[in-house]
């Protein structure tokens, strides 16, 4: 299990990385924490002409709260975000979900933006970004643009990022007073990819819920003023709409069943923990 050959650029500035990516386009791959990419390179599931390592770009390593938004730079690791002192107050959902992302030794390297770009349908950070209605800032040598979560992740392992773009920051809205947040996932083991993960933000009669692991990307629904019975129907409808899939860990039916059962629980928890 050794990677095929590639060139390597340890970019030291944003411009160096963006220029290189602009020149190499599809032949290049951005290496941030490498916790998914390196495994795929070792298995030779992925093979790239050139890796552009952005891990040394200091200006991209930051977490800051500004104007109702928590912005996380491209080089910021999951462990750094988890250790951010304001996390529990400003992003209680991330505080709940981040400990479920991988393990100690992978969070120390794996980046927040890298996880969003990898776009695994079961992973926690894309789910959180989706339910919170966050954004991803994409930048190329030619300019930058900002995409809403729903426009960023287009499918399994697929995003709207163009080959010359780097996701330079993720933006999570700061938690609003009066809104409760909850997260729960079912995994085979501690730290595994979720079979089903559910995140919810509940504010008054308004419920925003996102489900990961069932469709090819996190699915978000927003409901207002549903009774308890309506809620069960709505979750059932969502479960059937996503369909789910069979794999060696779980059946499609099990996934749908968890949407109904966990979904109701997570929404209820979010409702009761409103600040």
């Amino acid at each position: 299990m050794k990677p095929a050959e590639f060139d390597y650029l340890g970019a030291e500035s944003p411009d160096e990385a963006l220029d290189a990516l602009g020149r190499h386009g599809e032949d290049a791959r951005v290496l941030a924490g490498g916790q998914s990419l390196m495994a795929m390179l070792n298995m030779r599931l992925a093979s790239q002409q050139i890796l552009i390592d952005i891990g040394r770009i200091e200006p991209w390593r930051y977490v800051r709260a500004d104007g109702g938004v928590i912005e996380v730079g491209a080089g910021t690791t999951q462990a750094e975000l988890l250790a951010w002192p304001d996390l529990a107050a400003k992003a209680p959902l991330l505080a709940k979900a981040l400990p479920h992302v991988g393990h100690l030794q992978t969070r120390s390297r794996g980046t927040v933006c890298g996880s969003l770009c990898h776009a695994d349908p079961s992973s926690e950070l894309p789910l959180c970004l989706a339910v919170l209605g966050g954004e991803v800032v994409l930048k190329s040598a030619k300019g930058s643009r900002t995409l809403a979560a729903k426009d960023f992740q287009t499918g399994m392992l697929s995003t709207a990022r163009k080959p010359d773009e780097i996701a330079v920051a993720a933006r999570f809205p700061v938690a609003r007073a009066g809104t409760g947040y909850a997260f729960e996932e079912v995994t085979r083991r501690h730290g595994d990819f979720a079979i089903v993960a559910v995140a919810a933000a509940v504010s008054g009669p308004s419920v925003r819920v996102a489900v990961g692991g069932v469709a090819d990307r996190p699915m978000v629904r927003e409901w207002t003023g549903l009774t308890e019975a309506d809620m069960a129907d709505a979750l059932n409808g969502l479960a059937w709409e996503m369909g789910g899939f069979d794999d060696i860990h779980a059946t499609a039916r099990y996934r749908r069943e968890l949407v109904r059962r966990i979904g109701a629980r997570v929404i209820e928890e979010a409702r009761t923990c409103r600040s």
Binding site: M1, Y8, G10, Q35, G102, L104, Q105, R109
Partner: protein, 173 residues
């Protein structure tokens, strides 16, 4: 940094267990292979090469990391700590290593370097952990021999001893 071309060797300088060393590697060479095959530091083990078993865990600039998911070129100019640097210069086992010994917390010993490196960092950040916290910290390290309970016990024991040491150091009698 210049573009490092495939198929050619590039010099890499780093500090391994406190000692400055230099070696050469292709861009694709994994850090764990560089440590073992180029530097001869075979204490770090290769268990799965896809980032799950934890046997190759080292600390990169102090943070625990999988050496199979890092390239040697990424470690250029950085500090890498491995199991080989845990014992003190006079050869005495560290408190954690000693606790592993006293609790029968290793059998074949192949996963042990990764376990120790994960826990060393964990105990620095969590000097007084609960049993469940220790277990969670170990979720990225597979051991097939012990069943983990001895490892958890050894870790809690080491944590207690380290706290006592700290206390003794701050309250000299």
């Amino acid at each position: 940094m210049p573009l490092l071309k495939r198929g050619t060797l590039h010099p890499i300088s780093l500090v391994v267990d406190g000692v400055e060393v230099t070696g050469h590697a292709e861009p694709r060479m994994l850090l764990v292979d560089f440590l073992r095959r180029v530097l001869g530091a075979t204490g770090t083990h290769v268990g799965c090469e896809h980032g799950i078993c934890g046997a190759c865990t080292i600390r990169l600039d102090g943070e625990p990391a999988r050496a199979c998911l890092l390239l040697a070129v990424q470690a250029d100019g950085r500090r890498v700590d491995t199991v080989e640097g845990l014992a003190s210069a006079d050869g005495a086992l560290s408190v954690l290593q000693d606790a592993f010994h006293r609790h029968f917390a290793l059998q074949c010993g192949f996963c042990t370097p990764g376990m120790l490196m994960t826990l060393q960092g964990f105990l620095e950040d969590n000097p007084d952990p609960t049993k469940d916290q220790v277990r969670a910290a170990l979720s990225g390290n597979i051991c097939r021999c012990t069943g983990y309970s001895e490892i958890v016990d050894a870790t809690l024991d080491a944590a207690a001893r380290l706290r006592n040491q700290d206390q003794a150091a701050t309250n000299p009698t």
